[in-house]
């Protein structure tokens, strides 16, 4: 049971970890000072969430593994984030689209996780939900600005949404740990979030005067640790210090 809970936490936290890392890359390079601050702030929130989850996981592991070990000392095949969050910051449209597509899910997910029988997870969810509500508003607003902005911005954000759409379905795949935790009233049944998710996304896209993609072809693998080729490079940076200077405190 503990192993399932541990894995379940990783399944949640890895998404924030990898997405936070992607947002952190942008720091100082945003299209305006205000967006720069917002993206840095979102990254900060996400890593804060990661710490809460991994501190809990560390306690569950009970073998001396620290939050940093869990975050930075796994091999690529052991990270279980969805493919969506590891996609690169191709341009600001991709950054916003990726984040938006995750935020809508994230908010639905945390709203359910708040009801978890596991009090630690429920407490973390409660704290995170406030932050994520802000993230979702930020990215939804930008979806509208870009979608209903200029012809150029519309083309770019539509392309980003079309490209990233293929990674949305995986959000609703259940892992073994998921199923076990749902059965115990601890985990969220993500399959039940799917309709609300696509409805909400469609609503924002429509308001943003964008097309909702109709493709039925989806990619998966992240939840099983089979990532896209972008992941290795991201991890090379994320793990650099912990790998180059093992067993030290910072």
């Amino acid at each position: 049971m503990k192993q399932n809970l541990y894995n379940y936490i990783l399944g949640i936290a890895d998404n924030s970890l990898i997405l936070g890392q992607r947002m952190g890359e942008l720091c100082g390079h945003g299209p305006s000072l205000e967006t720069d601050i917002a993206c840095t702030n979102i990254s900060l929130d996400l890593f804060g969430q990661v710490r809460s989850y991994f501190q809990y996981a560390s306690k569950l592991a009970g073998d001396g593994r620290t939050e940093d070990d869990i975050a930075m000392l796994r091999q690529e095949r052991e990270y279980v984030n969805v493919l969506l969050v590891e996609q690169p910051n191709t341009d600001f449209a991709y950054t916003i689209a990726r984040h938006f597509l995750f935020d809508v899910y994230h908010l639905l997910f945390l709203t359910e996780l708040e009801k978890s029988k596991d009090l630690t997870l429920s407490a973390i969810a409660k704290k995170c939900i406030k932050e994520v509500r802000y993230h979702e508003r930020f990215t939804s607003d930008w979806m509208k600005r870009l979608g209903d902005g200029t012809a150029e911005s519309k083309a770019k954000i539509q392309e980003a949404i079309n490209d990233l759409w293929t990674y949305t379905d995986e959000l609703f795949h259940q892992t073994k740990a998921d199923k076990a935790m749902v059965a115990e009233g601890i985990g969220v049944d993500v399959t039940k979030l799917k309709d609300a998710y696509y409805e909400k996304v469609n609503e924002v896209l429509t308001e943003a005067t964008l097309e909702t993609p109709e493709s039925k072809y989806f990619q998966k693998g992240g939840k099983k640790g089979i990532h896209t080729e972008h992941m290795g490079y991201l991890l090379a940076e994320l793990q650099y210090m912990q790998r180059a200077y093992p067993n030290m405190e910072w």
């Binding site: 100082g28 890593f47 209903d148 902005g149 911005s153 770019k156 405190e249």
Partner: protein, 312 residues
């Protein structure tokens, strides 16, 4: 003439000058120059530290670093706003930065090449910045003084945070301690240069003193920085990379070695290790972001139109 006299008297009485008050053109220009330079420094200053966000060695440090860089962006934001009260737009200021017309602090033209640089920057660079900036909390121009109060508070938090990074490294493994010493070696002299050229070479000083943009001379500030920092290095168990550094009982201060002013001027003139990189990063971000800002503008206009139509 009369206005000017009244103005100088107000400053002498420690009254704050506010945006709508009359002010001499030179006062306005000098403040625009210094304040925008200060704002630019915060923005360019995000880059050397931003360079380590993806590689921070622990989650705790990563969060702290993100928060710090975010603070710097925030400082930039309200310093730009404060400067705008003097009748210049933010876009104009960016333009000046991007074309090289406006300067920013030269310290940010040095590369951050190890994690210890995050410590050294906080400890030394923010330390020197505070010494430069604390007097500005009482400067004559109201919006600047108020901005500086907030900035200084956050900077001294950053400075302690930087010192703590150094402390952890100094008490760590030999490799970590070496990393800390190396960072001190590389940042010490550039930090001293942050206090500005020697008084002999310094322009603007007298006028700036009168307007309370300056309270002490560069050399005095530098001495203050050294006297305050050397004991901290002792606590860390690190060696200041200056063989001439020694306590002068008589002066009650540290004597120190000759600063390489050639290097100082080379960097100021745009030939430091990272001047080009920093400008490329800023200009690049600005250019890549143009379509985004255009979209936001177009959207805002459309929204306004829609609201207007609703009213009609």
């Amino acid at each position: 003439k009369n206005l000017e006299k009244q103005f100088e008297e107000r400053i002498a009485r420690d009254e704050k000058i506010e945006p709508k008050d009359w002010m001499p053109e030179k006062y306005r220009k000098t403040h625009i120059r210094q304040m925008s330079q200060h704002a630019h420094s915060e923005i360019v200053g995000m880059l050397p530290e931003g360079n380590w966000i993806t590689r921070a060695p622990s989650l705790r440090r990563k969060v702290a670093l993100l928060a710090k860089v975010q603070d710097e962006a925030g400082h930039g934001l309200y310093l730009y706003s404060a400067t705008e009260t003097l009748g210049i737009s933010r876009d104009e200021m960016y333009e000046q930065l991007h074309t090289g017309k406006a300067k920013y602090s030269s310290i940010f033209n040095y590369p951050t090449i190890t994690w210890a640089d995050m410590g050294a920057i906080g400890w030394l660079v923010d330390g020197a910045a505070i010494i430069n900036q604390v007097p500005l909390c009482n400067t004559s121009y109201g919006p600047y003084a108020r901005a500086m109060i907030r900035v200084c508070k956050e900077e001294s938090f950053h400075q302690r945070q930087g010192f703590e990074i150094m402390l952890k490294l100094s008490n760590g493994t030999p490799e970590q301690k070496e990393m800390a010493q190396d960072a001190l070696n590389r940042w010490w002299w550039p930090a001293l240069m942050m206090l500005g050229p020697t008084d002999a070479e310094s322009v603007h000083t007298e006028q700036s003193m009168k307007w309370k943009l300056k309270r002490k001379s560069n050399d005095d500030l530098r001495q203050q920085f050294i006297d305050q920092t050397v004991p901290q290095a002792d606590i860390l168990g690190l060696t200041i990379p200056d063989p001439d550094l020694k306590w002068n009982e008589e002066r009650g201060s540290y004597d120190f070695g000759e600063i390489n002013w050639d290097e100082f001027w080379q960097v100021v003139k745009g030939h430091g290790p990272c001047n080009k990189e920093r400008m490329k990063a800023r200009v690049g971000a600005w250019e890549r972001g143009e379509w985004v800002r255009d979209a936001a503008m177009a959207y805002a206009e459309k929204s306004q139109e829609r609201k207007k139509k609703q009213v009609i």
